[in-house]
Amino acid sequence: MDYAIQLKALIRKELRQIFRDRELLFLLLFMPVMQITLYSFALSPEVEHLRLGVIDYSNSTTSRELIGNLVSNMVFDLKDAGANEDQLANKVKGGKLEAGMIIPPELQRHLKSGNATKVQIFLDGVDANTAGIAGGYISQILAAFNNKLQSGSQSPKSAVQPKVTYLYNSGLESRWFFVPGVLALVLNLVSTLVSSAAVVREKDTGTLEQLLMTPVSSFQILAAKVIPLSAVLMVNVLISLFVAVVFYGVPFRGNFFLFMAVSFLAIIVGISIGIALAAYSANQRQSLLTSFFINLPVIQLSGALSPIESMPQFWQDLSCLDPLRYYVTCVKAIMLKGVGFQAIWPNVVILAVFAIVFLSLSSARFRKQLA
């Protein structure tokens, strides 16, 4: 009976503090909206509208057709190439063009005689990713063009015709990739920050000491921190989801309750990290600075922003220790793929293990500090 009264008093106090803290509410409500907006507008890996300059010495129908093929699918835009090779080269070197092509005068003559013509292509390699994709496009377009030249005016015929179907995201919206990742990332960030603030604040102001002198147990103190925070953070998940689906048109194809259950696990992980941070640092400044050390790798290795399978092996192995990785996988699978528990259960189980282990470790540390 006493136990319940005490717990009720503690929880009510926490809730009142949360709702009175404007900074915190701002963080909870505004962070998801701002971050999702920023990421989805700012990060775009599309390789489109690359600036291409062409010096066409041949100036023939074939060369014009080749150029037409290159610019036809929006990958390249034709820009002023300058008067000669040197000027073109300078433009690419100076970063004014991403690609340059020089078509030699003998193109038409060689075509007639059946000899191969060498077309020079410069690519700006500073952005390795873009350059790689652009190079791929060029060879693909040239190959198709070659086919067409070979088969003359007849319809081109290839031996293998791949019919590619894009699943889950047929319109190739890059937002759909970033938004679920950012949703997971923001939840992790907010839950860590909020919970460490809730614990450290009590330490900073000295009220923790006062609390320790009351007859409540350390388990009650901890429970009173975790329960209201996780409830509030669940609301935060709903807000993020609303922003993602309504504002940014990301589909939600899976089971809502599964999503919330998985998010709950992620929240517990986040809260545990926050409590551990607070328990190990002496004041708010320290906990803020240490959170930098932790959040940087957690976010970077989670696969929220760049795919894990492209990382070098060592970092891939390291990312297995990153709880956020599993949550990101689950969010993407549930939202975009619409799969059920049977498809993601290994991730859920690992996340649950993380949640249990982290919570018991951090609460042990927290309670030890109280004793």
Binding site: A9, Q17, R20, T205, G206, T207, E209, Q210, M213
Partner: protein
């Protein structure tokens, strides 16, 4: 006075939003004087200093410093705030050099003045030590040195001795006296009445307006009251009888104040009062001694005239069975070590139910560590303890239900309202539903916050918060109560009320442990313990501690007090001599033998002595004597 004032303040007002902090204050400060602004937290002292220093704009009114606006004379003003004037991660030299650079002191001047002041303040040996590693007293001396390095004409000191131990405080004030001799004018804010005694002139500031102004002696004389110290074997009975006689109008008691082992009665007619007291004390042991009123008496009387009647509601106590054992707290040879640092050494004490034990000492003397061990928050490294009859597990929930604790920092949640805070503590202590509203009301009534219970606690001034935390700590009527500096920042009136409540709890059988900086306040305790560097150096009732001091305290008045002070310092241990506004105090072990030769000595050097009289020891004098004798003894022991 015909002199041109250094500072002239006319009808100064300051508002922060709706709140009026200063409500039209006027005063002047003249060259070479120590001018005191005395008042509790929130009286407007700090705002006044900010405006004098030119770092805050006044809402209205005029300030002239050295004939100009304060902002334009900043280079001639030295400014020292409460403990915050230093960079703790810089060394003594680096701090001084930094300030000198900012205030455009030339290299030669810097060197000369630094050497001079560091020597004067006895800091020259530590010039490469980090400021953060200095004791509170040394920090403040260093801050003073920094403020003096630019040779200011006016020195503004905002509560310079907060958190500084009595010994260093006295040294600090001796320094101030010598500085004014060099022509520096000093304005100082302080909440301590004993420090106010050492100012040349004072204003009493309360809630933004000046309540009284004058020299300390004038203020006391103008009160036209006498103070009677009554000691008896049953103070409670005596106090009750006197209180009932107050109601009979002819009593001539303006005030009765209860302390740990005495009653103070203020009266306007000594003879009548004495005879009434004699009548009322039939059947009791009684000793009466007539004394001068204190500045605190002045303050309280003024405030009582100015405002409020004191209302102290009684706590709705619930009768509890008497504890089986009479001892509430007991510690035997307790030690606490942090790494190689011994914070508490061999402390033994015992507190019975119904008693108030005061633990005194400077910051860092080990008071807080001791209190934390006694209430079970810290495990002692060595030694035996018992608490509420419990020996082994001091952390059980059952035991904690019987304890009340008010820690040094604010113990309330700033972001909850007053009512929410109180409800929270009712909840965690499981105060029965039927008692709750009565007790909540009691707290609100005593803090004067009835009707404001939905205000955010964070917006309250410090003193109010402190009273509220006290209320929250006793909601469950604890059997043992720990109070760590409960009255810091509380004004004298509220402080009296709080002590009255504390005594009420003691009478109901609660054992109470209090720590405080205020030695004047320690008089309220039935027993005291002095801590120095982790050790309990003296224990006993306040009267007993004072009585046990060897020798006597003698007040001498000279024509040139400063010269006499300088001279006497060379003849006697320096702690035995201290300078006040218009007198020099000496502690002599054998006054009958020594005094005469000392006065002769002075006269022969042309320093004329007008008068000498014996004064009773204050607790502060006793404390300084104990500490100094102890350290002299230690030094001798180690030399041998």
């Amino acid at each position: 006075m015909t002199q041109v004032p250094v500072v002239q303040v006319l009808d100064l007002k300051k508002n922060y939003g709706e709140t009026q902090v200063l409500k039209g204050v006027s005063f002047s400060i003249y060259p070479g004087e120590i001018f005191g602004i005395v008042g509790p937290d929130g009286a407007g002292k700090t705002s006044a200093f900010h405006m004098l220093g030119g770092i805050l704009d006044a809402t209205s009114g005029d300030i002239t410093v050295l004939g100009k606006k304060p902002r334009d004379t900043r280079l001639e003003i030295g400014y020292l705030t409460q403990l915050f004037s230093l960079y703790l991660d810089l060394s003594i030299n680096e701090n001084i050099e930094y300030v000198a650079g900012l205030r455009q002191v030339s290299k030669n001047d810097l060197k000369e003045r630094r050497d001079k002041y560091l020597k004067l303040m006895d800091l020259d040996r530590f010039s490469n030590r980090l400021a953060g590693q200095l004791s509170g007293g040394m920090k403040q001396k260093l801050a003073l040195c920094c403020a003096l390095i630019a040779r200011p004409k006016l020195l503004l000191l905002d509560e310079p001795t907060t958190g500084v131990d009595p010994v260093s405080r006295r040294e600090f004030w001796d320094l101030l006296a010598s500085i004014t001799q060099e022509g520096v004018t000093v304005a100082v804010a302080t909440p301590y009445m004993d420090e106010a005694e050492r100012c040349h002139r004072l204003i009493l500031l309360h809630e933004g307006s000046i309540q009284d102004e004058g020299r300390p002696q004038e203020l006391k004389d103008n009160l036209n009251l006498k103070r009677l110290e009554l000691r008896s074997n049953d103070l409670e009975k005596l106090s009750n009888r006197l209180h009932t006689s107050i109601d009979k109008a002819q009593a001539h008691f303006t005030d009765i104040q209860e302390f740990g082992d005495r009653l103070d009665v203020l009266t306007d007619n000594l003879n009548i009062a004495q005879s009434i007291i004699q009548k009322e004390s039939v059947g009791l042991d009684l000793s009466i001694s007539a004394q001068e009123p204190t500045l605190e008496n002045v303050f309280v009387s003024k405030l009582k005239n100015a405002e409020v009647k004191e209302t102290t509601a009684r706590f709705p106590f619930v009768q509890k069975g008497a504890p089986s054992n009479s001892t509430a707290i007991k510690a035997e040879h307790v030690y606490k070590e942090f790494g190689s640092f011994a914070a508490v050494k061999d402390v033994s004490l015992q507190i019975d139910y119904g008693h108030i034990y005061g633990l005194l000492g400077a910051n860092g003397a080990g008071k807080t560590t001791t209190i934390k061990m006694l209430c079970g928050l810290l495990q002692p490294s060595k030694g035996q303890m018992s608490l509420g009859g419990e020996k082994g597990n001091l952390r059980s929930a059952l035991l904690r239900k019987k304890l009340g604790y008010m820690s040094q920092k604010f113990t309330l949640y700033d972001d909850l309202t007053i009512l929410e805070n109180l409800e929270f503590y009712c909840g965690v202590y499981c105060v029965p539903q039927d008692l709750r509203s009565k007790r909540l009301n009691w707290v609100l009534e005593n803090t004067g916050l009835l009707g404001e219970e939905n205000r955010l606690t964070g917006n309250l001034p410090g003193g109010w918060k402190q009273r509220l935390s006290f209320g929250a700590a006793v909601l469950h009527q604890p059997e043992v109560l720990f109070l760590d500096e409960p009255t810091s920042g509380v004004d004298p009136l509220a402080r009296r009320q709080m002590w009255q409540l504390i005594r009420d709890f003691a009478r109901q059988g609660t054992a109470i442990l209090v720590t405080t900086h205020f030695l004047e306040e320690a008089e309220h305790c039935s027993e005291l313990g002095f801590m120095v560097a982790g050790e309990l150096v003296a224990q006993g009732a306040p009267g007993k501690i004072k009585a046990e001091q060897p020798g006597s305290l003698i007040e001498l008045r000279f024509k040139d007090n400063q010269a006499a002070y300088n001279m006497l310092k060379t003849k006697l241990d320096s702690w035995r001599v201290s300078i006040f506004a218009d007198a020099v105090h000496l502690v002599l072990d054998h006054p009958d033998i020594e005094l005469e030769s000392i006065i002769e000595n002075c006269n022969s050097q042309g320093i004329e002595c007008f008068s000498s009289r014996r004064l009773p020891f204050s607790l502060e004098d006793a404390f300084i004597g104990i500490v100094k004798r102890q350290s002299t003894a230690n030094a001798e022991a180690s030399a041998a």
